[in-house]
């Protein structure tokens, strides 16, 4: 660490999503004489902002602990007796398999919109059961340019996903 690293400075943010966030979300708008005239933006911004479902996140972090080399981690901390257990390879392999299986199951719940209508008990907690499924479908078909509704749906997309996470946590 004697030599300071160089962090490259790019003229613009590296991902198109970040560039779009700047010029679609930020910047001056609009008064009586100037309006925003855009098509297809809803799809783009939803794509950029889909928030990872919390159940998915928890499973991902649980899985990340499996990749930890706790032996190395704990040598510095001195907890040797706990370590023998968890580094026995076979068992942790099995766990990992089961875990990714579970993760796949969860993602199929999130992905398969149309076949889980009966799971929608959370709908009464939310404003309008039918509407909250739309963003997932929209992002699944994001290659089509058909969307021309206003951008105001984006925030809702984020909010609407949450109740479904709760549903799945309950199960």
């Amino acid at each position: 660490m004697t030599m300071q690293s160089y962090v490259g400075r790019a003229p613009r943010p590296s991902s198109l999503a970040d560039v779009l966030e700047l010029i679609l979300d930020k910047g001056l708008v609009i008064d009586a004489y100037v309006r925003v005239s855009l098509v297809g933006i809803e799809l783009l911004t939803i794509d950029a902002r889909v928030v990872v479902a919390s159940v998915d996140t928890y499973l991902r972090f649980a899985e990340a602990t499996n990749r930890l080399d706790l032996q190395a981690a704990s040598n510095s901390e001195g907890l040797p007796q706990l370590i023998g257990d968890i580094t026995e390879g076979g068992a942790s392999q099995k766990t990992k398999g089961a875990l990714s299986g579970a993760a796949e199951q969860v993602s199929s719940w999130f992905g398969g919109d149309d076949d889980d209508e009966q799971n929608g008990q959370g709908g009464d907690r939310e404003n309008g059961d039918g509407r909250r499924r739309r963003p997932a479908r929209a992002s699944a078909s994001r290659s089509s340019r058909s969307g021309n509704s206003s951008r105001s749906g984006n925030g809702d997309a984020r909010r609407r996903r949450r109740p479904r996470d709760d549903d799945d946590e309950d199960s």
Partner: protein
């Protein structure tokens, strides 16, 4: 229909040259509409705009060119007005606001710094530093019970979130020494924050060094997407 890129003072070189030589959205030339001490950079466009890469880049390029020779208030992509008369009316009506904003961002540029977390490194950091969490991890790591895994993941995720909040606080605290204004927004994981800084061009070297030293300290668990200089998008709304 006219697409509006941004507003400059009519003393800005771009206003002087009538925007000559710059190509904007839909490959159309950029020209200026002047009203008193203000001028709008505009271009003819047809139909509704699409946020296509080519046009998005053109919008940015027009504004970056203007920024390179003076102060500019960037408009949102897709802002349109019926004709030059409407643009002039906008300039007249909003003149006080434009003047005030030009004074606020004038002589400064925007830089952005996005912090992206390496989840594995963050998990390691929290488990190593917290003996109780490590105990929980070792107990439940092998469990195949779904609820156990969720509970473990939730604990770890909470600790990682906390670590990230501390990292963002530390980064912004240090950056505030160089920035004359800052806008911090949350980002989609694994990104933990998008920070926009308003900086005097003379201090960019100082900022570069600061970002590099932050990267030295936190680079093992955060990657930095550092960009600019660009027009002050985040400071004109």
């Amino acid at each position: 229909m006219l697409c509006v890129y941004g507003v400059v003072r009519s003393s800005h070189p771009a206003a002087d040259s009538g925007g000559a030589g710059v190509t904007g959205v839909q490959g159309r030339p950029v020209f200026v509409v002047v009203s008193d001490d203000l001028a709008a950079l505009v271009g003819e466009v047809e139909g509704e705009l699409l946020a296509r890469r080519r046009d998005v880049d053109a919008h940015l390029t027009v504004l970056e060119r203007a920024l390179s020779t003076g102060d500019v208030l960037p408009f949102r992509f897709g802002a349109v007005a019926a004709d030059a008369v409407a643009v002039r009316a906008m300039l007249e009506k909003s003149a006080p606001r434009f003047r005030e904003l030009l004074a606020r961002v004038g002589g400064r540029v925007q830089m952005t710094l996005k912090l992206v977390r390496d989840d594995d490194a963050a998990v390691r950091a929290v488990v190593v530093s917290d003996a109780r969490l490590r105990q929980v991890v070792t107990t439940h790591q092998r469990s195949t019970v779904f609820a156990d895994k969720l509970a473990l993941g939730e604990r770890v995720a909470a600790a990682v979130e906390q670590l990230s909040r501390r990292d963002v606080d530390e980064v912004t605290r240090r950056l505030s020494a160089v920035a004359s204004a800052m806008e911090i927004s949350t980002a989609t994981p694994p990104a933990i924050a998008s920070i926009a800084l308003l900086v005097e061009p003379d201090r960019l070297g100082e900022l570069d060094r600061l970002v590099a030293s932050l990267h030295d300290e936190l680079g093992h668990r955060l990657s930095f997407d550092y960009a600019g200089p660009m027009p002050a998008y985040s400071f004109v709304s």
